[in-house]
Symmetry: C3
């Protein structure tokens, strides 16, 4: 009997199937320290238990993207081990903060299938959820990937295309219980700019850059128990290890502190594209564009919708060429909602 996991192929998915992913994970202060060593994170709510308490929370949660990476990592062996491409994300929501001591597990429901016309590959849509030890859903997102078929002669499944929102409505966003920004301390947070200081359409060059090292992206990716071999094994690809797209997301988010220090909590992921591969030696920079703003019911808490773009060169604010395609220096184009003091 074959003992190793060969991963699933396109014909192994059925709409409605729910896959329970393996290897639950308990997080501690160790994960926070490592996350802050791997990325230049400075958002005060995640750096200081005291600051978080002053905002109505019991302490500083695990960084939202770390929670996302942990959930995502669990899905890899069942969803994307044989992926040709990670095509997109939609309707990502953070529903509960993750605290040190929490144990996370994940599941994915198959919500869409479409065989490609070449007959060799197909697209699978999944709705992935992360749960804590109380079986509360802490985050969810939808993702679609292109997968190889094991057997090209396997019949095409009925095409099912899920309806996905292009953008989460502000009313869809879940505000952590107790969050209160009425006493928010901008001096401790690092910048004076509140929601009212940002204009829709405004673009911010985050200025700082970080040159990427092999040891760092591998440590991060292993910490999330993401097993995709292209990130670790230089012999598995012609040239260089391919860096986990989530490493670029976290790096860009951390860099965006400089100009968006008060975009504290990520609560919604509207969409995202990994435009070009990132390799060790690349210097990652980031810029943001304000796409929307909204009020919430929580005291003093507003929501800001941001485009976050990571690049490995080129001028800030350059995104696509005249052909509508991403420029070769663009690594990431992410669309998310964050909570900010009004």
């Amino acid at each position: 009997m074959q003992k190793t996991n060969a991963g699933r192929f396109f014909e192994d998915y059925r709409v409605g199937d729910v896959i329970q992913h393996a290897v639950p994970r308990t997080v501690s202060g160790g994960e926070r320290a490592l996350y802050h060593a791997l990325y230049p994170m400075r958002h005060a709510l995640y750096s200081s238990d005291e600051f978080a308490r002053d905002c109505g929370l019991p302490g500083g949660p695990l960084d939202d993207l770390a929670a996302f990476h942990i959930v995502f990592g669990k899905t890899v062996p069942d969803v994307s081990l044989n992926a040709v491409a990670n095509l997109g994300y939609a309707e990502g929501r953070w529903l509960k903060p993750v605290w040190p001591g929490d144990t996370l597990r994940a599941s994915s429901e198959v919500i869409g299938l479409k065989q490609n016309s070449n007959g060799r590959t197909g697209v699978v849509w999944v709705h992935s959820k992360g749960f804590n030890q109380h079986d509360d859903c802490v985050m969810e997102y939808k993702r679609w990937v292109m997968l190889r078929k094991r057997d090209q002669d396997a019949p095409a499944p009925e095409t099912v295309l899920p309806e996905l929102k292009a953008v989460l409505d502000p009313a869809d966003l879940v505000i952590p219980e107790g969050l209160d920004f009425t006493g928010y301390d901008c001096t401790l947070a690092g910048e004076p700019h509140r929601l009212g200081d940002y204009e829709i359409g405004e673009k911010i060059d985050h200025v700082d850059g970080v040159t990427i090292e092999e040891a760092e992206h591998m440590m991060a990716t292993r910490l999330w128990q993401n097993t995709s071999k292209v990130h670790f094994d230089v012999t598995a690809r012609p040239d260089q290890r391919l860096i986990y797209g989530g490493h670029v997301i976290s790096m860009a988010r951390a860099l965006s502190f400089n100009g968006l220090a008060n975009a504290q909590m990520i609560v919604g992921l509207n969409g995202g594209a990994h435009a070009n591969p990132c390799l060790a030696g690349n210097t990652v920079k980031a810029w943001s564009e304000v796409l929307d703003k909204a009020r919430t019911d929580a005291p003093g808490v507003g929501a800001i919708r941001l485009r976050l773009v990571a690049t490995k060169g080129g001028a800030p604010f350059a995104l696509k060429g005249p052909d509508g395609k991403y420029l070769p220096d663009v690594l990431l184009d992410l669309d998310y909602w964050a909570l900010m003091p009004v």
Copy 2:
């Protein structure tokens, strides 16, 4: 007075001497997070406090090999600072799990001595033990190293050769108190294969590989407070830093998850050889061979004896050449007992 530690030489050991090693170490969730960032560890019992509780333990222990590395690291300044070669291990046993908050110290008793015929070196056998803050022995092993003499004219000691078991008997293995695999969840653990699914003689290619970085092996080796300078100082050797053999052990064990996800707890180390040096840039892969299987008294808990081989190239399952010597791509040949649900 010379203030720095020059290490011990062959003539400094007497059979029966017990050396108390320096620098006790308290471990926390930080050590766990780092261990899981440095190696692709996924064994559920060490990843999730909840999974461990469902197996009868109070929480997830520190990874067994991390405990071994901590104990081993303490012995280095007193045992192997002047070692010409690390010759072997035997009778390694894990006696108590190590929990976050525990403080470990170590001692070694000299149990054997034999001067080599060249008169310039000799072999020292030690029985090393790690203790927690309650003075419980948490693990022990025997190791022998070849050491230089300080003074070639020092008289040869009486030769004492310890009797060492080639393989631990299953009855020698100590099962952690409370361990119960009767409700073991294979889905959460990641693989369906139980002890009955493995056959003696079966070989498993673990498929995945990790390319080794200087920063990673140095971080690991420092975390274990192993002071051997060849691992850190590029000027101390002609070419490149030599990677701590324990880094290869942990890497291979982590890679073996893919095919041996349910070989949860390491309880016995029968032997091990570092066949060839590992250097940064090497891509480590692993394969295993099932050597034996046994029942234990604990509910649902079986024991599996495994050969774990790490390589830096070559085909899986190739171990030795026609001359009986390890092939040049073989890094490690380890023989251990692990606990697995029956």
Copy 3:
């Protein structure tokens, strides 16, 4: 409105101004584990909660230099983002240990100003303090940096030169509450040498070396939330990333264990110079010179004043050339007080 922080320029400082620095930081066992993975730290009081308890403390504190780096990192965006040079330190004191769970914040008072004769730069002296969540000052130091002017035509401020002690008097040192070295265990600490075994003028070559990696110094510098871009962005300087001077301080201190294992707690920083830049690939070694010794009021606790020199080559004990300038292989010349059993 410009959203990113351009940093302060020389004309932005007024003597008497107190700057509250941003982004408070909660520390945990994660910071300790990372610190011990990044540097070969072995001082027993920081490695073992049990050893610390036997010395009268409630547990092992965060390493003193880690506390310093955290406080220092907070000051960077407000003090040294536009620094041409980090000129010196004086009157550094550790006033309270930092424990896992503590949250640190920092402030700096401007205590001196002097425009340079070129009219384009000036020197700013600050008195920086770190506080815990109880508003206790845990450490303080004075630092002076050379800063650019934004506007060369801005008028020169009145020159104010602070009075700085060249060396802290032993009576200025603050001994942690409860510290008691009367039962100090030299075997567990790793060396037999007590204060009485060191002579003023004695020099110690610490022998060991560590070759520096980009991934490691960036992880360390990010962990302290130091945002200075020269440490991270290879495109920000002509050649290579410049390593944070604090990385060299911690590395040299850790290496000094071998010969100064009982110089447990750093309580005073008399001065320090970063003599030459450190780059990845350099192999850092260290030597120390005993500058002074003193008694304290705490039982069994003495103080030792040490010069700690880090080098990237050359012979030990070589410091300056005939011209009085640091030799090109010297990285660091630090003058500090540590506590040692008498």
